[in-house]
């Protein structure tokens, strides 16, 4: 977790939402949008290693970036060798994320529309004039879900302190609330306890979190990009959860000596003087951030021809992939990939570069198959491409 997030989280956690007073609290007189909020003060220690300074592991980096460009891709699962920078990369992500607009101080990071829908839907709520709602810009939140989290902290619960001191039942939002419209990261996701997996599957499917406790019922939006990482040798991931991830990036030990020397050098430099190191990469960080924002802006203009769509469908069919999530993911990811490249028309070249990421975990596992999933996808892709070129 980055410092920005940690700080934001702390304030968010303190801010419990008294259920009834909520509507008045946010009413303000000036409707003019506020300037982008300054990022919270950073502590000296615990700076995250900059994203752009991470050597290699392009597959993982691309997966994460594409998910920023289009969160509907459905997240990414990063599986691979130990000590290859999986969690470093995910935690570095926060610094290159764009800003989003939310209702000022809203613990659920809601947009004005979501806020209105939510608050006006409540029993006895008055109509709120949308022009009285103030908004602010915050970096896309990245929320860390540690393995030891308890269910009440994940979903939210009644604030015990307030209950004890004033007898007021106030809802204290959990990690799912903080992660709304952002990223939810689980390291060692394959070791996550079953009951938390159940909660996640439930919320990921509905996009909503419902908590009922002490006679009050809270419902809030909880749409997030799920990012998981782990080492496959520590255990298998539950199939339903595996299916939830849009992309599956694989990561292996880098064997190139030059790159490895670079990793050591950069890491030492960073450890010696994090601030100076951050400064050195500042320009690249900003450049990437801008590039991502541009891709986000470009995304609505990107188009795909029917023939590319047909090829995608044929690829999934030939690979025997069940359901339609495969096609959908490829299509969305290819759009985002094209946008990231600054192009407005999706071609099979884009598809080719991301097909492995989208399909690797959706192939039926054939125990006797010696071919690697990636190779199999490439082979089928070549067939489809061959056919496509022949036409």
């Amino acid at each position: 977790m980055t410092q920005t997030e940690t700080a934001a989280k702390k304030s968010a956690a303190k801010k419990t939402v008294a259920v009834k007073v909520k509507a008045d609290a946010t009413v303000a007189t000036t409707p003019e949008p506020k300037k982008a909020a300054k990022p919270a003060a950073k502590k000296k220690s615990g700076l995250a290693f900059p994203f752009t300074a991470i050597v290699g592991q392009e597959e993982m980096k691309l997966s994460l970036i594409l998910n920023i460009i289009d969160p509907r891709i459905g997240g990414v699962l990063v599986m691979g060798h130990r000590g290859t920078g999986k969690s470093t990369t995910v935690r570095a992500l926060a610094e290159v994320l764009p800003l989003i607009e939310r209702v000022e101080g809203d613990t659920y990071n809601r947009t004005v529309e979501q806020y209105l829908e939510n608050e006006e839907g409540k029993k006895g709520a008055k109509a709120i004039d949308p022009f009285t709602i103030r908004t602010e810009k915050i970096p896309v939140p990245v929320v860390d879900l540690p393995l030891g989290a308890t269910e009440d902290r994940v979903c939210g619960t009644i604030d015990i302190e307030q209950a004890l001191t004033s007898g007021v039942k106030a809802f204290e939002p959990g990690l799912l609330a903080q992660a709304n419209r952002g990223f939810l990261y689980i390291d060692e996701v394959n070791l996550l306890d079953d009951h938390l997996v159940d909660v996640l599957l439930d919320v990921a499917a509905s996009g909503k979190n419902v908590v009922e406790r002490e006679g009050i019922s809270i419902r809030h939006p909880a749409r997030f990009v799920l990012v998981g990482s782990g080492n496959p040798e520590e255990g298998e991931l539950r199939p339903q959860l595996l299916d939830r991830f849009g992309l599956h990036a694989r990561i292996i030990t880098i064997l190139d000596i030059g790159k490895r020397v670079d990793i050591v050098k950069r890491r030492r430099e960073f450890d010696d003087d994090p601030d100076a190191f951050m400064k050195k990469y500042n320009r690249e960080q900003l450049k990437l951030q801008k590039k991502i924002q541009q891709a986000k802006d470009l995304l609505p203009e990107v188009t795909m021809t029917d023939s590319v769509l047909t090829d995608i469908a044929r690829l999934c069919m030939n690979l025997g992939i069940d359901g339609h999530r495969g096609e959908l993911t490829i299509t969305r990811t290819a759009y985002a990939h094209a946008a990231f490249r600054g192009e407005t028309v999706v071609t099979m070249k884009h598809v080719k570069e991301i097909a492995g990421l989208c399909l690797r975990h959706r192939l039926r596992k054939d125990p006797l198959e010696t071919l690697d999933a990636g190779e199999k996808i490439d082979r089928e892709l070549a067939k489809v491409l061959g056919e496509a070129e022949a036409v």
């Binding site: 060798h81 004890l164 000596i257």
Partner: protein
């Protein structure tokens, strides 16, 4: 009290701890050692050589999640009405040492939390309405007896130094130990020695920022890591840091050969997965895969000179990476002439790792936590239930909805109910023993592989594990140690040699050993799945002595009978699947099933699914 300087033998362990004292970024030291070799004494004595006031926290093996991570101090919270936070063991060790004795026996969820804390340098407390970040940067010192099992690889990966396993101290050392224990050593001596050591470490800490390492040396260390087949890139950083710390301890400003040797010995060799191949080592430079190198080359050239401030003074620094690497290979071979892989942890990981087959459940095992749940069919955790009801009593009593209820001292609602969760290694271990001799072997192996993988696909649900033993030639061999990972199974089963004799007895013996090991790890249900025609023709003797004479047939039968009875007596279930064509069969397989007290299936040309079905039907 025995001081650090008093500890005799275990020189490598001492060196390792000194390096850690110089550079805490090395993360920690793991010391595998036999019982009674003083491993825990040395770890505790480690505190003496650290600067005064450095926290030293010992982690009890039966630590619960909330003690480890921290949480709400309910007693104080209820008493004061203000949320009172209780720091966990991990954050208490911040800035100091976290010591775990018998670290290989640590519960897998505790290991996960420690891993997480190490990689973040802090603990995220997301529990019981609490959301806090506690700093938790500590050095982990773990000791264990390898016969208890191995430490999880994920954890080892985050710890810089692993001391090579040492079994015995020499005779002179022993004599000294006796003297110390009898108290014949002068206490003043000890104190002076300790002071000297502390001073040495202090000086080394100050020297550390001034030590430099050349790019060639870094390359050589990395090349060594690659040659030894060490997984991951994090280890490179540890290796370099260890070499720097070693130079700092010697008050040098440049890393020298001996520093690199020590780093290789303490960081890389224990993680080796293969013997370095001298011939191949230099060819093994993998092809440059991607081009993104282009972002940096000029920068590197500019910085190179700063790495070697006095290049002329140090002649040897002009050595090429290849030459240095050659040197390293010499070092490895000299230090550890034979059985390098026998002492490395990487080869021993083949036993099992902690997390597999372990599941939280609601009925049996060790109580780990209480969580909300249905009362029906579960064990209610009474105290947590009462505690969770307590804060609401006032408001509930005022609540109109509660009015119809009978007046009770406590109003407890469904929401309050907390049930007990237990951690248990449940599930069944299926040990496949596949006859890989003769002509049908290839087919049998394929079927067995299929069955293994297919069982593993569903293993998730039942927490089952699968192991695979093949037998051919002189002896049986564990191809896949008990595992739950499909990926791992696939990888290990890639190469399957076939042909040769049928060492059935050896297979039974090895299976029995595997079963016994699994038992010590809490797996109670074990099943042998033998895929064979039951005609063993190589005796157990051949397993231990390749030159043993071929045993007569009666002896073979006796061996198998004795083994089978022992296995049966141990409560291991068994099925025998005969895939031989009927006309060739002489009824050995049904007999084997009978001896094992198991069932016999005749499935010529068995499909993987049929084998799975047979195994599960039992």
């Amino acid at each position: 009290m025995i001081a650090f300087t008093d500890i005799v033998g275990m020189d490598l362990a001492k060196q390792a701890l000194m390096l850690l004292a110089v550079d805490s970024e090395l993360g920690g030291v793991v010391i595998p050692s036999a019982v009674g070799s003083g491993k825990s004494t040395i770890a505790r004595a480690f505190a003496d050589i650290l600067p005064e006031g450095t926290p030293f926290v010992e982690l009890p093996l039966n630590v619960t999640e909330d003690r480890l991570i921290g949480g709400v101090d309910l007693e104080a919270t209820l008493a004061t009405g203000i949320r009172v936070v209780q720091h966990g063991v991990l954050s208490k060790a911040h800035g100091g040492v976290l010591y775990v004795d018998s670290i290989s026996l640590l519960d897998s969820s505790a290991v996960s939390h420690i891993m997480d804390a190490i990689s973040r340098g802090e603990v995220l407390v997301e529990r019981e309405g609490l959301s806090e970040v506690h700093p938790a940067k500590f050095m982990l010192v773990g000791t264990y007896d390898p016969t208890d099992g191995e430490v999880r690889m994920g954890l080892l990966d985050r710890i810089g130094i692993i001391v090579p396993f040492t079994a015995q101290n020499d005779y002179r050392a022993r004599k000294k130990i006796v003297n110390i224990v009898l108290g014949t050593r002068d206490e003043d001596d000890t104190r002076d020695e300790l002071k000297m050591l502390s001073g040495l470490i202090q000086a080394a800490r100050e020297q550390l920022p001034h030590v430099s390492i050349t790019k060639e040396q870094v390359q050589a260390l990395i090349q060594t890591a690659i040659s030894l087949g060490v997984e991951g890139n994090r280890v490179d950083i540890f290796t370099v840091r260890a070499a720097l710390a070693s130079a700092a301890l010697a008050q040098r400003s440049d890393v020298e050969e001996e520093d690199m040797k020590l780093a290789i010995k303490l960081v890389l060799i224990p993680r080796a997965t293969r013997m370095p191949d001298r011939e191949a080592a230099s060819d093994e430079m993998p092809p440059q895969e991607e081009p993104p190198q282009d972002e940096e080359p000029e920068a590197e050239d500019e910085e190179a000179p700063s790495d070697t401030p006095d290049a002329e003074a140090e002649e040897e620094q002009k050595e090429t990476p290849d030459m240095i690497e050659e040197l390293m290979m010499d070092a490895i071979e000299m230090e550890l002439p034979d059985n390098i892989l026998n002492i490395s942890l990487a080869s021993k990981k083949k036993t099992t790792t902690g997390s597999r087959g372990e599941a939280l459940n609601n009925r049996r095992g060790r109580f780990v936590r209480a969580q909300p749940g249905e009362m029906r069919g579960n064990k209610v955790a009474l105290i947590p239930t009462l505690i969770s009801a307590a804060p609401w009593q006032e408001t509930r009593k005022r609540d109109k909805k509660m009015e119809g209820r009978p007046k009770t001292a406590l109003i407890i609602t469904k929401d309050d109910v907390k049930i007990k969760r237990f951690r248990d290694k449940s599930g069944t271990l299926f040990i496949f023993m596949v006859d890989a001799s003769g002509s049908m072997a290839l087919n049998r192996m394929r079927q067995a592989k299929g069955a293994v993988a297919s069982l593993l696909q569903n293993a998730y649900v039942h927490r089952d594990q699968v192991a695979l033993i093949s037998f051919r030639g002189k002896q049986a061999q564990v191809l896949l140690p008990p595992s739950q990972s499909v990926d791992r199974a696939k990888r290990e089963l890639d190469v399957l040699p076939t042909g040769g004799g049928t060492p059935l007895a050896s297979a039974l013996y090895l299976g029995w050993e595997t079963a016994k090991q699994a038992r010590t790890k809490g797996i109670s249900q074990i099943m042998f799945v033998l895929i064979t025609d039951g005609r063993g023709n190589i005796g157990l003797q051949a397993t231990f002595d390749p030159n043993a004479e071929k045993a007569p047939k009666e002896e073979l039968e006796k061996e198998i009978e004795a083994l089978s009875l022992s296995i049966q007596a141990d409560g291991v279930a068994a099925i025998v699947i005969d895939t031989q064509m009927n006309y060739l069969s002489r009824g050995e397989a049904p007999k084997l099933a009978q001896k094992l007290g198991g069932r016999y299936f005749y499935l010529p040309n068995a499909k993987a699914e049929q084998i799975v079905e047979a195994a599960l039907s039992f």
